[in-house]
Symmetry: C2
Subunit: 95 residues, 2 copies
C-alpha cells in the first residue's frame, strides 16, 4: 500500500540539498550552506552520505588561493529524487 520512502532522501537537509541541485548545474558548498541554512558540519556529513550513495559528485578545487568544494547531482541522483517525489505524493493523495 505505502511504498517505502528512500531513507537517504527522507531527511530534511539531504532533501533540501537534492532540491537545490536538481534545479542547477553546479554549486559551491557555501552556496548550499546558505540556501539550506545548515551548519557546515552537518552539511559536510550529509553531502558525504549523498556522495557515497552516488547521488551527487563532489569536486574539490581552488578559487584563487582558497579551497572550494563544488558539487552537482548525478543521473542516479535525479532518478532517486524523482522516485522519492512520486512515493511521497502517494502519502498525500487523500488531500
Amino acid at each position: 500500500m505505502y511504498k517505502d520512502l528512500n531513507p537517504l532522501l527522507h531527511s530534511q537537509l539531504r532533501l533540501a540539498v537534492m532540491s537545490v541541485l536538481i534545479g542547477i548545474e553546479e554549486v559551491e558548498f557555501t552556496f548550499l550552506k546558505e540556501k539550506t541554512g545548515a551548519t557546515a558540519g552537518n552539511l559536510s556529513l550529509q553531502m558525504g552520505k549523498l556522495e557515497e550513495a552516488g547521488y551527487i559528485k563532489i569536486i574539490k578545487g581552488f578559487k584563487g588561493k582558497y579551497p572550494v568544494t563544488k558539487c552537482h547531482i548525478t543521473e542516479s541522483g535525479k532518478k532517486a529524487f524523482c522516485e522519492y517525489a512520486t512515493v511521497i505524493k502517494s502519502y498525500l493523495q487523500h488531500l
Copy 2:
C-alpha cells in the same frame, strides 16, 4: 528558503498513519497495522506520539470481549498534515 518540515510528521510511519486517517472517519489499531505494514510495537509508540501532539485521538473500548483501540484524526491533525504537504511540495518544485 526551505521551511522546516514538521518533524512529528516527517517520519514514514507517522505520515502513513496520518495519510490513512485523513481519508476515513475512524479506524481500528489492527487496520492501521495492516495498512502501514508496521509492527504493533512501533505503531503503538508512534500513535502515542501523534496523540500526545494532539493530532489524533485514541479511544479504547471492547469489541465483544476483546479490547480494541480505535482512533481518528483531529482538526489540529488535519491542519498539520496539510501544512506538511504544502511544505514538502516546495522541496519538489523543481521537478
